[in-house]
Each structure stands twice: as structure tokens, then as C-alpha cells.
């Protein structure tokens, strides 16, 4: 799999504050990657540099094999949901998306169907002609998500995409984003770790402007090599409430084989199984990686 995004030794300072310190990571093409970190870790700065809003002090970026973001080279290839960017309020979603779609180079014949499609994806088809000023915060957020997906860009940057959405809308948006897997590369910055765990196949954890962990979600959470078996009371003699099974690198068995063997062994001892869970939660991993971090 080729990389859609490669960051190498990015540095960015705001006065005395070192926002990014030799930040490096890659995002494989077609993956949905979560960008995680505590407040002030440098997530939004990273997104802004990738999108060309900010210039790095040093380091290199390769976006879609075309070098750093360039509005000419990357025309129509990159969509972004910027954090805290306010929509112009006098226009309607359809008018805004039409203006931005034309700037992206979407042809006249495909523009209207493309607008209908993205507004439908964010469940705003019925408010397409309402002035932005009359839309709620959540609806405005969905308009910005629609703008990021307009024209089916090859790379989409989403900064807190479900912030301000109600649970049903957030669930729907996650389904929409999951549908992009394999076709579009998506980099999502969010504090909602449960959401990222269910959606992303890759994760990058940054703290104090550095990458402290990156890899496949299953590897980061340990879902491919770790199982926790929780036992129900009464416990057989010699057993505690939970049993953790970790596969070592030289173990020839698959996780399923090892888990089955362990369960057979526990049942033979008279244990009753309450829960079997693979890996740790992403939240537990991130908290461990960023322990003691101060924003």
C-alpha cells in the first residue's frame, strides 16, 4: 500500500511555544486514520500545515505524491473540515457548495448532482435552500462536512467532524465515512476515542508536537495479540476475576486458536465466562502514551 501522506520532521513554533517538534508519520492510501492527542498536542496545527494554511518552520510533507499542498497541483483532490471555521451566513448551503465546487474545478454538468449527493449524505437535502444564518450549529457543521466531501476528493482532512452533532447524526456520519474506506484517504482529528476506535483502521498519537505512537488500530489497541477473559463468580480455586492472554511474537498460534485453547482450559477448571474482549480500549492506550501530559 502506498502512502497518501508522509510527514518528515515537521517543526512549527508560535513565538516561544514549540507546537510541532520533529513530527513524522505516514498515512497509507485508502485508510481512515485517527489523529489523537491531548489539547495543545499539535493536532490542529498539523492539519493546518497539511492543508497549506500554515507554513512549517522546517520539515517536509508529501501529500498524494505531489509534494506539500499546492492549490494548483492538488486542485479538487483535497477536502477539509477546518476546526472553528465559520460559514458565510448570507448564502444557502446550495449556493456555497456551488461556488466552492466551481473553484474545485467540478464541471457544470456534474456540480448539481454532486451537491445533491453530499447534502443527502449529511441529511441536509431538505435545508439546501435555507440561509446558513437560519441553520443550527449542528446543521452548519454538517454543511462543512458536505463541503469537505464535495467532488469526492482523494484526501479528506476532518477536524472534530462529529462535534456538535446529535448521536443519530454522528452515527450516520460515521457510516458515511466508513463507506469511504479503500476509496478515499481520511485523516480525522478527534477527542472521541470510542468513535475513532470503531471507525479508523490506523491511528497516530501525538503529544507535545511529537508522534508517540502510530500504526494499525489493531496493533495499537492490541486487538491482534491480546485477549482479556473476565470470569463470573463464583471463581474456581486459584483463579482471579480476569485472565489476560498475550501472544508473543514467536507464538505460532493465531489469536483465535490461543483464545479457544485458553477458554477450554478455563471451562475444564469449572470457570464460568462473563466476557471475552480483544485488546485494550484505545482510550487506555492513549492515556498510557500521553500520561502526565499537560496542555
Amino acid at each position: 500500500m502506498t502512502d497518501a501522506l508522509t510527514l518528515r520532521s515537521l517543526n512549527k513554533r508560535f513565538g516561544k511555544h514549540h507546537a510541532l517538534a520533529d513530527l513524522s508519520f505516514t498515512v497509507p492510501a485508502g485508510s481512515i486514520c485517527g489523529l489523537i492527542g491531548p489539547n495543545g498536542a499539535g493536532k490542529t496545527t498539523t492539519m493546518s500545515i497539511i492543508a497549506g494554511f500554515l507554513s512549517p518552520d522546517s520539515g517536509s510533507i508529501d501529500l498524494l505524491g505531489l509534494g506539500p499542498f499546492d492549490p494548483v497541483k492538488h486542485a479538487g483532490k483535497v477536502g477539509i473540515l477546518p476546526q472553528d471555521a465559520e460559514l458565510p451566513t448570507a448564502s444557502t448551503p446550495r449556493q456555497l457548495l456551488a461556488a466552492w465546487g466551481r473553484l474545485q474545478g467540478i464541471t457544470r454538468s456534474t456540480l448539481n448532482p454532486a451537491i445533491e449527493r453530499v447534502l443527502g449524505e449529511v441529511l441536509l437535502g431538505d435545508r439546501a435552500d435555507a440561509r446558513i444564518a437560519t441553520l443550527s450549529h449542528g446543521m452548519r457543521r454538517r454543511v462543512t462536512v458536505a463541503s469537505a466531501l464535495l467532488g469526492e476528493p482523494a484526501f479528506v482532512l476532518l477536524d472534530e467532524p462529529t462535534s456538535g452533532l446529535d448521536p443519530a447524526q454522528a452515527h450516520h456520519l460515521r457510516d458515511v465515512l466508513a463507506g469511504l474506506r479503500g476509496k478515499t484517504t481520511v485523516l480525522i482529528s478527534s477527542h472521541n476515542l470510542a468513535e475513532l476506535e470503531s471507525l479508523c483502521d490506523r491511528v497516530v498519537v501525538i503529544d507535545h508536537g511529537r508522534c508517540v505512537r502510530e500504526g494499525a488500530m489493531s496493533a495499537v489497541t492490541g486487538a491482534d495479540r491480546e485477549v482479556t477473559i473476565t470470569l463470573a463468580d463464583p471463581l474456581p480455586a486459584g483463579l482471579t476475576g480476569s485472565v489476560v492472554l498475550r501472544l508473543t511474537a514467536d507464538d505460532p498460534r493465531s489469536l483465535a486458536e490461543a483464545t479457544s485453547a485458553k477458554l477450554t482450559e478455563l471451562l475444564a477448571l469449572g470457570a464460568r465466562i462473563h466476557e471475552v474482549r480483544t485488546g485494550s480500549s484505545l482510550e487506555a492506550r492513549v492515556l498510557a502514551d500521553t500520561k502526565g501530559s499537560k496542555p
Binding site: S48, A51, F53, P71, V78, P82, A99, G105
Partner: protein
């Protein structure tokens, strides 16, 4: 290159479309039209007074509808005397007086009001979008030059829309409130003066947009552009006073060339070569002011 031109046009269309839907712009247009309407009313009042005085002198009945005795007033030089100090002398006034006087009068107001309108609307446009970060929706779609140039073109189109609405209003009021106004000649004069007003306003537009590109805060950009606009006559006076031999004098002399208000009279000339030169210089000044702001905008973190 074609793509850049097309993007500039789309940004301009976006700017125009977004602005005409905002209440602020609608209020500014109303204020401009109010100013033009006031100028027509004032003209008819002054003309009516002058005509009534002439009627009294001649011992004929006073008119209730101004304009009937305008040719007589033109002959005895009253209108020329009124026009001369504004357009840069009696010869310039004489050359203009074969055109409808109302068209010239409205042109004077238009040349005063249109730069003010553009300074007000253009000085906040980019900085407001930078502050709200809505500019990021554009930055990911096109280049910074296309955005800035599109904003310049969009604001120019807004100014042109305002000026054309003013022409329409002045034409209608002129025909309703005065007699003896030839409709076609009045329309031609108003449209011609409208074009010169737009060209005269270009450096002010460049100055306001340059300020908006240069300064991050919308209020800061507006204050800077407004101070520059209203401070221009004073600056011109200071620079002209200091101009002369020596390094400082020569620098002052050079700087006076960048003061657009100095070139008011040239836009009243009837000599095509003077008008062409004045127009070219206006475009150049607008580009210079814009370029100063853009040089900063191009490198800024947004």
C-alpha cells in the same frame, strides 16, 4: 493561466453573490443612493433659486419646475462659475458645459461617494474572513493570488453595481424633478461620469483591499483604510509642502504621486489622452496598493 483567470472570476462572483445578500452591503448601497438622491435634490434646489432670481431680474413669472431657464443661466456664466473650481478651471468647465449639467453635478458627488463606499466595503472583506477562518474554505480550493485578485474584482463589481444604480436613480429623479433634460444625453453623461468615477475610485479600492490583506483584524483594517482615506488631503498638503530639493524633498515629491486625490481634475478633462493617462495611472496605483498588501497575505499563516 486560464485556470487562474477562471478561479479569479469565480471568487469575484462568490464575493459579489455573498455581499449582495448581506444587510451591511444593502445599507451601504442605500446610503450611496441616498447621497445621489440628495445631490439631485440639491441641484434642483440651487437651480430653482438661480432661475427664480433670473426670472425676477427679467420680470417674468418664477418657475415651479427647475431647468426651464438653464440655457439662460449657462449663457450668463452662473453654472460655469459654480463648476469651475470643482473641475479644475473655467476652460475645463466651458468644455464640459455642452453636457447636461445634472449629469456633471451627479458625477461630482459620485466621485466623492464611490471611493468612500469602496473603502468601507473592501477594507473589511479579507480580514473578516481570516478572523472567522472562513477563508480556509477558499484556500483549500484555489491559490492566494486568485483569492485576493478575485476579492478585488468582486469589490470593483460591487462598486460598479452601486454606481449603476446611482445612475438609474439620478436619471429617473432628473426627469421627474426637472424640465428640459434630454433623456438620452442625460443618460450618456451619467454613464460616462459613472465610468470615470469607477476609474477614479480604483486606487482607493486597492488601498482598502491592500489594508485588508495586510492587517489581520477587520476593525484594524477598516480604521487604517479610513484614516488613509480621510487623511489623504492632509498628507498631500504635508508632502507638497515638504517637496523640493534634497533627499527628503525628493522623497516627498515622489510620494505625492501615490496620492489619488491629486488626480481628481484630470478625470474632468475632455482631452482623451489626459483621460487615458489618468485611467492608466489609477489602475497602476490600485495595483501597487494591492501588491503591498498581497506581499504580506501571500506569506501569512491563515
Amino acid at each position: 493561466m486560464m485556470r487562474a483567470v477562471l478561479d479569479t472570476w469565480w471568487v469575484a462572483a462568490y464575493e459579489l453573490g455573498e455581499a449582495v445578500r448581506t444587510r451591511l452591503f444593502q445599507l451601504v448601497i442605500l446610503a450611496y443612493l441616498g447621497g445621489i438622491g440628495f445631490s439631485v435634490w440639491l441641484f434642483t434646489k440651487i437651480l430653482g433659486e438661480a432661475e427664480n432670481r433670473l426670472a425676477e431680474t427679467l420680470g417674468v413669472p418664477a418657475t415651479s419646475h427647475p431647468g426651464a431657464m438653464l440655457p439662460q443661466l449657462l449663457q450668463n456664466g452662473d453654472v460655469r462659475d459654480l463648476l469651475a473650481p470643482i473641475v479644475g478651471g473655467t476652460s475645463a468647465a466651458d468644455a464640459l458645459l455642452d453636457q447636461p449639467a445634472l449629469g456633471l453635478w451627479v458625477g461630482i458627488f459620485s466621485m466623492g461617494l464611490l471611493p468612500a463606499v469602496l473603502v468601507f466595503t473592501a477594507s473589511g472583506t479579507v480580514s473578516a474572513e481570516v478572523k472567522s477562518r472562513s477563508i480556509r474554505f477558499l484556500l483549500v480550493r484555489t491559490g492566494r493570488l486568485e483569492i485576493a485578485a478575485g476579492k478585488l474584482l468582486g469589490q470593483l463589481l460591487l462598486g460598479a453595481v452601486a454606481a449603476l444604480l446611482g445612475v438609474g436613480l439620478a436619471w429617473i429623479l432628473g426627469l421627474l424633478m426637472m424640465s428640459g433634460n434630454p433623456p438620452v444625453d442625460l443618460a450618456v453623461t451619467l454613464l460616462t461620469r459613472c465610468a470615470w468615477s469607477c476609474l477614479f475610485s480604483l486606487p482607493f479600492l486597492g488601498l482598502a483591499l491592500g489594508s485588508s490583506l495586510l492587517i489581520g483584524s477587520p476593525n484594524g483594517a477598516r480604521v487604517a483604510a479610513t484614516l488613509a482615506f480621510f487623511g489623504m488631503p492632509a498628507l498631500n498638503a504635508i508632502l507638497t509642502f515638504k517637496a523640493g530639493p534634497g533627499f527628503v524633498g525628493q522623497v516627498c515629491d515622489l510620494l505625492t504621486l501615490a496620492i489619488p486625490t491629486r488626480y481628481w481634475n484630470e478625470f474632468w478633462s475632455t482631452d482623451p489622452s489626459v483621460l487615458a493617462f489618468a485611467s492608466g495611472r489609477s489602475v497602476l496605483l490600485a495595483v501597487v496598493f494591492f501588491a503591498v498588501g498581497f506581499a504580506r497575505f501571500q506569506r501569512r499563516d491563515l
